[in-house]
């Protein structure tokens, strides 16, 4: 099946807390990570993320793919930054050369070479730490938060009934959408369509995806009429609704929220006073 929920009840740091408290902490963590470029600060955040990852109770075999993706994406992005030096010029002005690597071949007379500088190396390291801590904190959410509670979680975070229920509905219909997609994929493959053989530029490739995109979209539109009818017929949106499931904050949840907010203001203050800017050991 294309879509299966990763959520299970586990012995997990995250599931020990109320999901709303966790999301507030997560948002604070995200904001704080984005405030700094200093690898020493970022290393602290990466360490916290690593501890939470290990404490999430998710087996490596369950999340092998996303972990691989994070690793490959993080390394690729950092390597690209390192090789091109792009982006870093916004946070540093001068560079300290460590060594110059020069290829022993030429391409049409051009000899590839890169200047390995302290700034480039630390900037890439900073990127890697940021990407990996943000990604690993984010990837834990679908494994740890019950999809059946998304509506009540967002309602509890202050969103309206309609928006909160839209979250619930999204979670409900993602597997249906996935199944429709697989069915269309099978139907077109049975007509000799091979997704692997898509060639041409981006626009040409998107055009060649039409046999998948059009039926799936049409099906979703047709289906949505039934969904709207089903909601109308059971009095959705006529007034404030009661949510059957209730979430209750415990002491530890208040502590976590306070910790998140404290972290946010501390980091914000540090950042305002110039701490945590780009740093190299000179």
């Amino acid at each position: 099946m294309l879509v299966t929920w990763r959520y299970r009840i586990r012995k997990s740091i995250i599931q020990w807390f109320d999901p709303r408290a966790w999301l507030i902490f997560y948002a604070c963590f995200l904001a704080c990570t984005l405030l700094f470029w200093d690898v020493r600060y970022l290393a602290v955040f990466a360490f916290i993320a690593l501890v939470i990852l290990i404490g999430s109770g998710i087996r490596v075999s369950e999340m092998r793919r996303p972990l691989m993706f994070i690793a490959v994406f993080g390394i690729f992005y950092s390597a690209l930054t390192f090789l091109t030096g792009r982006g870093g010029m916004e946070v540093y002005e001068s560079e300290h050369l460590i060594t110059r690597l020069q290829a022993n071949f030429t391409i049409f007379g051009w000899q590839p070479a890169i200047n390995v500088t302290l700034e480039k190396a630390f900037y890439s390291l900073g990127i890697f730490l940021r990407v990996s801590s943000l990604a690993s904190m984010t990837i834990l959410i679908p494994y740890s938060l019950n999809p059946a509670q998304y509506g009540i979680i967002f309602r509890g975070l202050g969103m309206s009934d309609k928006i909160a229920y839209a979250m619930d509905l999204t979670m409900r219909f993602i597997p249906t959408f996935g199944r429709d997609f697989m069915m269309t994929m099978d139907a077109q493959r049975a007509r000799g369509y091979e997704l692997e053989n898509l060639r041409g530029g981006l626009i040409a490739q998107v055009r060649k995806m039409a046999p998948l995109i059009v039926p799936v979209t049409i099906h979703a539109i047709i289906g949505s009429e039934d969904i709207i009818d089903a909601m109308d017929l059971r009095a959705f949106g006529v007034g404030p609704r009661v949510w059957l499931e209730q979430l209750h904050y415990k002491k530890r949840d208040y502590v976590l929220i306070a910790l998140g907010i404290l972290l946010f203001f501390t980091c914000g203050g540090l950042s305002m006073f110039g701490f945590g800017k780009f740093w190299v050991p000179i």
Partner: protein
């Protein structure tokens, strides 16, 4: 004092905002509390529009011009809110998959009650009593997506019943169910009406509904009521080609008409060796589950195979192996002697063409011509050859002149024909269909199947179905699939005479099957009811 009616419809007509013609015209009838009324008619005759008028979606969600009066328990509903109507009228839509909104059963049943802002203890009380009433309390904490079709239907019904309506509208509730699940649903409906619920049931499977003895029947045609009365009168008032009546009634009526033209499958020329062979095939989607267990069979030239079995028995998984979409975990599938593990799905498509249940899962092109050219182009046929193949396919399915029409703008029946033509254009040798009659009314699907059997290009036909009568009328071989195994493979006269086996595979003998079995010694093989009338 006379008892007041539950539903009273007085001269109701309705036209959708973007349409010229009326969808329903001058409809009048009454239903008394505790009455079960069957509403039958061809696709597009206005049944769903009538349902929407009663449950308030018209004119609140579907805008248009409505005239006449609708009364529920003697109160006119014009000024009622949907919330108020929803506590009087409960509606179960055709596709429970789209009606179920909650991720878990409990949340789904609670949905309407939460919207009515009832107290939590009251909601829980009603959830439990609805689930218990329908005998599905054990599903309370299950995820809705993983339920079977029959379970989904019951959960959708529980969600509606929890709102304590006194009137229930059921829009083709049997459409996606296997025969045994359909019978269970019908028994429930009978039980509800016996306890005082007023039920209006739209259904194509008229014969099945007859078994629970509806009090009256409405037959609609082109937006109008053509018959309203007792069951006995229906077969006389309505053409027996239009709705599926019990076989003895058809035989009675058809005796006066000329015998039907025999429909016989004439396979295209081909080699005598098997087209497809399954050799001890086993498969599971995950390592610890087994969906297919040791299947061995072959598909030969001239076969018209009906694959029967309950939902989840493994029918579709088996067929997906034949077309190479799935590869066996053990054993092998040979298509024209080649192992499907070593050839692509595109290569298999030259032998087997697969028509999916819903045409909207495959139609995408801006014109019928391009839609039909898609397959042969993928198979790298020569452009001149493709032009010929497409034109021939269009002619065979009687869509000549519609080449430039967008397939998605055609009627459902025409879309279905486009999906068959798409396979014809690929020159596949075996036609494989999943629930070929789904979504079509009786007349349309019988004409459709007659036309398919007479197509000149195929060497064999295989279809998956829940409808035993399709196997009785059209198949010359039946595969009964149960729990991942082929439990019977043979002529329909042999396989379908074993009622114990049918019951074990959640199939229910129909009146046509029973009548054929009574007469098989004289006829030699199964026939449609119209033909039996002349023997």
């Amino acid at each position: 004092m006379a008892q007041s009616s539950a539903i009273s419809i007085e001269n109701v007509s309705f036209r959708y905002r973007d349409r010229q013609e009326l969808a329903i015209r001058d409809i009048s009838f009454q239903m008394m509390p505790g009455e079960l009324l069957l509403l039958a008619g061809a696709s597009g005759c206005g049944k769903t529009t009538l349902i929407r008028c009663i449950n308030g979606l018209i004119p609140r969600s579907y805008k248009g011009e409505i005239t006449g009066r609708i009364l529920l328990h003697d109160q006119e509903t014009t000024d009622f809110s949907l919330a108020r109507i929803s506590q009087i009228v409960g509606t179960v839509l055709q596709d429970p998959e789209r009606q179920i909104l909650g991720t878990r059963v409990m949340n789904e049943v609670a949905f309407g009650l939460e919207n009515l802002a009832l107290s939590r203890p009251e909601i829980i009380k009603r959830i439990d009593s609805s689930l218990e009433y329908l005998g599905i309390l054990q599903l309370r904490n299950r995820e809705t997506f993983n339920l079977s079709g029959g379970e989904k239907q019951k959960v959708a019904l529980a969600g509606v019943l929890a709102m304590r309506p006194s009137i229930l509208l059921l829009d083709e509730p049997l459409a996606s169910l296997d025969p045994a699940s359909a019978q269970e649903t019908l028994r429930l409906v009978r039980q509800l009406t016996d306890q005082g619920m007023t039920v209006l049931m739209v259904e194509h499977r008229v014969e099945d509904v007859f078994n629970i003895h509806p009090d009256r029947v409405i037959f609609m045609e082109e937006g109008e009521i053509r018959y309203l009365g007792a069951l006995d009168g229906l077969s006389k008032a309505v053409n027996y080609h239009e709705i599926k009546l019990p076989a003895p009634l058809i035989v009675e009526r058809a005796a006066a008409d000329p015998p039907p033209h025999p429909v016989q499958f004439q396979p295209a020329d081909g080699k005598p060796q098997p087209l497809v062979q399954f050799e001890d095939v086993s498969f599971g989607y995950e390592t610890h589950t087994t969906v297919l267990k040791g299947i061995s069979l072959s598909i030969n030239r001239g076969d018209v195979i009906a694959v029967l079995g309950a939902n989840g028995a493994g029918k579709t998984t088996m067929v997906k192996h034949a077309i190479g979409l799935l590869k066996p975990k053990s054993g092998r599938v040979l298509v024209e002697g080649k192992d499907t593990r070593h050839i692509s799905v595109a290569q298999v498509a030259k032998t087997l063409g697969y028509v999916f249940q819903s045409p909207s899962h495959m139609l995408f092109a801006p014109t019928v011509y391009e839609e039909l050219a898609f397959g042969p182009t993928n198979l790298r046929h020569d452009p001149e050859e493709i032009r010929k193949e497409v034109q021939e396919a269009i002619d065979i399915v009687h869509l000549t002149g519609r080449e430039k029409d967008p397939p998605l703008a055609l009627s459902f029946g025409q879309q279905k024909r486009v999906s068959i033509a798409a396979i014809l254009a690929m020159r596949s040798r075996i036609l494989v269909m999943d629930e070929p009659t789904a979504g079509q009314d009786y007349r349309n699907y019988m004409e459709f199947m007659d036309a398919i059997l007479q197509l000149p290009n195929f060497e064999a036909i295989l279809f998956i179905t829940h409808d035993i009568d399709l196997a009785v009328i059209y198949a010359n071989r039946v595969l009964l699939v149960d729990n991942g195994q082929v439990v019977a493979d043979g002529k329909p006269e042999e396989v379908l005479s074993n009622f114990d086996l049918l019951s074990a595979t959640r199939l229910v003998p129909t009146s046509l099957l029973k009548l054929n079995l009574q007469r098989v010694e004289a006829t030699g093989h199964f026939q449609r009811a119209e033909a039996l009338a002349h023997i």
